[in-house]
């Protein structure tokens, strides 16, 4: 393997890794605060992508398009919590999983009704041109993906670590009873976590649309990849989720580089499943937790 191929794989792995990490983080935000296994996360991403693409093609500039998409998707997230998860807050974990599945299917159906079967796309943000780096080509959107993901990660760490709202959220995750005693409304925090996850998802959706195109049915694969990234790295910590996403992206880029045909799409998640089976607490969590 020569240098430029390796570089190409590295860049593509970083690109994919950032996407998967961001997908995983959306799942993680809801899971860590509410312990809900949100299988509708991919639908938020789909909504974000489809809405941005629609607004953009209507002639609205990119940034307002994304903002509108984020707001609408966040509203959908609020709706999911307020009208489905909140009434079922005393149900078992399994029931809650299936509730999010129901929501996901309904969103998929609504998207199909609104946008039909066609795929939609966006140009690279601000029509950024591709970059030649030695012999590797970097698609114009890739720096945006990596940059915005990095910003989101920094933002999340700042939010959870420094702000009162973020600390309250973390308190709900770690010590629900204690949080309640300190006057934190767990319901409000849960609602907020769904809104945050939906908003994050929408941004990711807008980011990946120039790369992969989008349609009403892209939600499920995205959900699955996010869940895999989150659990493989270790769902207990955000660092684990980011690591899981990057590992996932790298594995996929390497298999795609080595094996032609669509096999990498099957092999990469396959490897992640294996990792999960043999390290059930994730890569970051070392021995002693058993």
């Amino acid at each position: 393997m020569n240098f430029s191929v390796a570089l190409q794989i590295l860049i593509s792995g970083l690109n994919l890794g950032c996407i998967y990490a961001a997908l995983g983080l959306g799942f993680f935000v809801v899971y860590s605060v509410t312990r809900v296994f949100n299988l509708a996360q991919g639908e938020f991403v789909m909504l974000g992508g489809m809405l941005t693409a629609s607004f953009y093609t209507m002639g609205i500039p990119l940034i307002p398009s994304i903002l509108l998409a984020v707001i609408i998707t966040a509203l959908a997230g609020a709706g999911l919590y307020r009208f489905i998860m909140y009434p079922a807050r005393k149900s078992s974990g399994v029931t809650k999983v299936f509730l999010t599945v129901g929501f996901a299917l309904a969103i998929e159906g609504i998207a199909l009704r609104v946008w039909g079967w066609e795929f939609r796309s966006l140009p690279a943000f601000f029509n950024s041109p591709s970059i030649q780096l030695w012999e590797a080509t970097i698609f114009g959107q890739t720096p945006w993906v990596i940059g915005v993901t990095l910003l989101m990660v920094i933002g999340l760490f700042f939010f959870f670590g420094r702000t009162i709202q973020g600390k309250a959220l973390r308190a709900c995750a770690d010590e629900p009873l204690g949080a309640r005693m300190m006057g934190i409304s767990i319901e409000r925090m849960a609602l907020f976590s769904f809104i945050l996850a939906a908003g994050l998802g929408a941004v990711v959706g807008a980011l990946i649309t120039p790369l992969t195109m989008t349609s009403y049915s892209v939600g499920w694969p995205l959900t699955i990849k996010g869940v895999l990234a989150a659990f493989v790295g270790g769902i207990t910590r955000a660092e684990g989720v980011i690591l899981g996403g990057l590992v996932f992206g790298m594995i996929e880029a390497i298999t795609a580089g080595l094996i032609p045909g669509g096999y990498h799409n099957a092999i990469a998640p396959g490897i992640l499943i294996l990792v999960l089976l043999f390290r059930r607490h994730g890569l970051l969590v070392t021995a002693g937790r058993e």
């Binding site: 299988l39 999983v97 299936f98 129901g102 299917l105 309904a106 959900t223 699955i224 992640l272």
Partner: protein
């Protein structure tokens, strides 16, 4: 006390409610077998579809309702049966019946290996793993172009045939699917009230079982989880094989998460406690689907498939919030309980 239960020498009918079950089986068999006599091709086509879903959902009920293990990836096993049948008949020119049989064994084998490792994990993560398996399956059959035709699908799968009829004949399919559905129903009901079935139910933590209690009574919960998983996969595989020989064209998109979710919805709506739930759930959902497909585009326009997806989602949410035991619980409540005991003496 209504009867001197002290004198019980045999397993009382109430334990197995065998009388009622046999009656219900006989009635449904008669109804199902006579329906085609007065029906046109459209309702029969719909009923064939319903049959496939009923079979897969019965497997889901074995796995989720009996053993209490979650799967959101059974479309992969449905697909595994369909593709194995397709490959064996088109590439290796085996007889479709033999292919159906070998496909079931192949799928069962795959499920054994997966289950053996997968059940090292417990709880909700299984939802994620089974979803991911479905994704892997989807991409695998999409990529193995030489074997499966890839994303374009596999064509010209030969039909099943028996005594001069083939599955190009709609009625043949109807009877084939429903006879198998009823046979598998009898199998599931027998299982429910047997040593193996009780072992499965005893470890179902979602329905009042306990893994710890099951284990100290000598039940190998790992083995039984794997068995339930394998059986449910084989049910799906059988449905898949018949489906492949019936439609004669299969493509990867059919065997993805929405189908996996749909059979779970049928099980939840119908009720997980009994295999009968599959008949109720599949019947109602497919009935509703057809209603929506026929009416909605005419009434309000739009893409045909969209309304049913929305409906599935709403049904799942509503069923979980307001009918957690499924529709079968209504039937159970309707059957008077005291009378069943009187018959025993």
């Amino acid at each position: 006390m209504l009867v001197g239960v002290k004198a019980l020498k045999e397993i009382p009918r109430k334990v197995t409610s065998a009388n009622l079950q046999s009656l219900a089986i006989a009635l449904s068999a008669i109804v199902l077998l006579t329906i085609p006599l007065g029906a046109g091709p459209y309702p029969i086509t719909v009923m064939v579809d319903m049959g496939f879903y009923t079979i897969i959902t019965m497997g889901i009920i074995l796995l989720m309702g009996f053993a209490g293990q979650i799967s959101l990836g059974h479309a992969a096993f449905f697909g595994c049966g369909a593709y194995a049948s397709g490959v064996l008949t088109t590439q290796y020119h085996l007889s479709p019946w033999l292919a159906l049989f070998l496909a079931a064994i192949f799928t069962g084998g795959i499920a054994t290996i997966i289950g053996r490792f997968m059940f090292r994990l417990r709880g909700l993560i299984l939802a994620g793993v089974t979803l991911a398996l479905n994704l892997v399956f989807f991409h695998l059959v999409s990529s193995l172009v030489g074997l499966t035709g890839g994303a374009m699908g596999m064509m010209n799968i030969p039909p099943l045939s028996l005594g001069g009829f083939t599955s190009q004949n709609l009625l043949f399919n109807y009877y084939l699917v429903w006879i198998i559905a009823i046979l598998l129903l009898v199998f599931s009901l027998n299982l429910a009230n047997s040593r193996a079935g009780r072992a499965l139910r005893s470890m179902n933590v979602h329905a009042g079982g306990s893994e710890d209690a099951a284990q100290v009574l000598g039940i190998d919960i790992m083995k039984y989880k794997v068995w339930a998983f394998v059986l449910s996969a084989v049910y799906a595989s059988i449905a898949g094989s018949i489906y492949a020989h019936y439609t004669r064209i299969i493509e990867p998109g059919t065997f993805f998460v929405p189908l996996s979710a749909l059979v779970v919805i049928m099980a939840i709506l119908g009720g997980m406690a009994s295999p009968w739930g599959a008949f109720l759930g599949a019947g109602l959902i497919i009935g509703l689907r057809e209603l929506l497909r026929e009416s909605m585009p005419v009434l309000v326009g739009g893409v045909t498939g969209s309304y049913e997806l929305i409906a599935y989602g709403i049904i799942l949410v509503v069923a979980l919030l307001f009918l957690p035991q499924g529709l079968i619980s209504i039937v159970h409540k309707a059957v008077p309980k005291k009378r069943a005991i009187v018959n025993e003496s």
